[in-house]
Structures are given as C-alpha cells and as structure tokens.
Symmetry: C2
C-alpha cells in the first residue's frame, strides 16, 4: 500500500497554455523552481530542487507525468501526474503525487507546499507572475 | 481501504493559542468559516458550511479531533485531526482529514482548499487576520 497527495486547481486559461507551461523548462521555472534545469518534453529529464524527474508521459491537452529518478528516499520512485480538462470556462488541473511509502510528516509538509505551488501555477497563467522557489509562499517559520 | 488528506503548517505562536483557536467558535470563525455556529469544546458540535462536526477529542496542547456527523455523502463519517507540537520555535499543526471512501475529484479540490485554510489559520495567529469563508483564497474560477 502506498499513499498519494491529491490537489485540484481551476485556471482561467486554455488547456494548451497549461500543457506548454508543464512541458517547457521556462514554464516550469515560472511556478515551481526558478532554478530548474533540463528538458520538459516527453523522455526528457527535469531537475528541481536537486531531484531529477523523467518526463514519462506527455499527451497534448490531456496529461503530463513525471517520475522521480533521483532525490530524497521519500521522493525516489514517486510519480507526479497532471491531468488536464477544460470545463466550466477554465482548465482544471487534477494533480496526484503518488507512491509515498509511508504518510510521514514530510509528506504532510509536501502536500501543503504542492497546494501553494499549484496556486503559483494558476497565478502565473492568469496574471503572468507565479511564486516559484525561492520566494514561494512560506508554510512554516523559516520555510 | 480509505483515503486521507494530509497537511502541515508551522505557526509562530504557542501551542495553547492554536488549541484555543481550534476549540472556540470565535477562533474557528477566524480561519475557516466566519458563519460557523455551535460549540467547539469537547463533546460539542460545530457547524461549518452546513456540515456538523462533533468534537470527539480535545486534549490541551496535544490535539483536536472532529467527526463529520451531518453533511455531504463524501464528508459524512470522515474525521479531521489537528495534532499540535511545539518545536523549532513554532507550533506545528499536523492535519489529517481521514476516511474518504474514494479519491474523487471533490477530494482533490478539498485537499487544496484545506491548504489555503490552514495557511489562513497561520495568518490569523501570526497577523491577527485570517481568510475564512466567504472571502477565502480562490482555487478555481468562481470558487
């Protein structure tokens, strides 16, 4: 049995704009980690916070999927999926960070951080300005 | 098998202040639902968003636990736990909304909303002003 972090945001933009943001280095630098490196297209590897993510799937207008192939023991092997759907005049991003081995305190922390970063993705696409790290929304004193 | 929403925030205040906020009507009105009604002490029933929550446990300095006893089919019977711990010069709130029957899209939505409300709790205690509903942080267009 494993454990998943789930989130959803609705963004006032097209599915294509969300897809482009999630599959390009520049796009991902705008909402998650401004120091990201690598290649966001299918088969590429993106590095965020010294963790490597292989882009294992990317279907225009539908979904983007990453697998953590280097990083902390808690993250290694976990998979992150962004499912996209346009409805109610916006693009909904159904987010899942799947495969945590235990619901450790760090998982609680990461769940809250993911919410702030997904709201950063929403802000980036709606206003042109996200809040990627460093400079992201703090969820504790000192972080 | 059931599914849980997890979060964690660290707040620049004492454990006692967090506990007081979570066990009083006025406190809970300041971060979650400004229209809340009821009694936040152990054994009491709080009403938020037309859902009733029995305060099934409340241990000063340690934890507060609610059970949803009236509400939407997805929420009914679920349990919400706030575990409190003072460390690293702040009070950490380890949050769990446990017992979802299925990881439905509404669960994804609620997970993101919980993050914004827990950051509202943090803001309330650190600045004196939270963002309870109505007027909370929107996570989609129209909500």
């Amino acid at each position: 049995m494993t454990f998943d972090i789930l989130h959803r945001v609705g963004i006032d933009t097209s599915v294509d704009k969300v897809y482009e943001t999630l599959t390009t280095l520049e796009g991902n630098r705008g909402w998650w980690d401004s120091r990201a490196r690598g290649d966001g297209h299918k088969g590429g590897v993106l590095t965020f916070f010294e963790h490597d993510f292989q882009v294992t799937d990317a279907v225009p207008g539908e979904l983007v999927k990453w697998k953590c192939v280097r990083g902390s023991p808690e993250w290694l092997g976990t998979e992150i999926t962004f499912q996209l759907a346009h409805k109610k005049d916006q693009t909904f991003v159904l987010f899942k960070h799947a495969g945590w081995k235990e619901p450790v305190e760090f998982m609680h922390h990461c769940s809250t951080k993911w919410a702030t970063f997904l709201l950063s993705l929403k802000a980036l696409l709606e206003t042109g300005k996200g809040r990627p790290a460093p400079g992201e929304v703090p969820v504790y004193v000192g972080g």
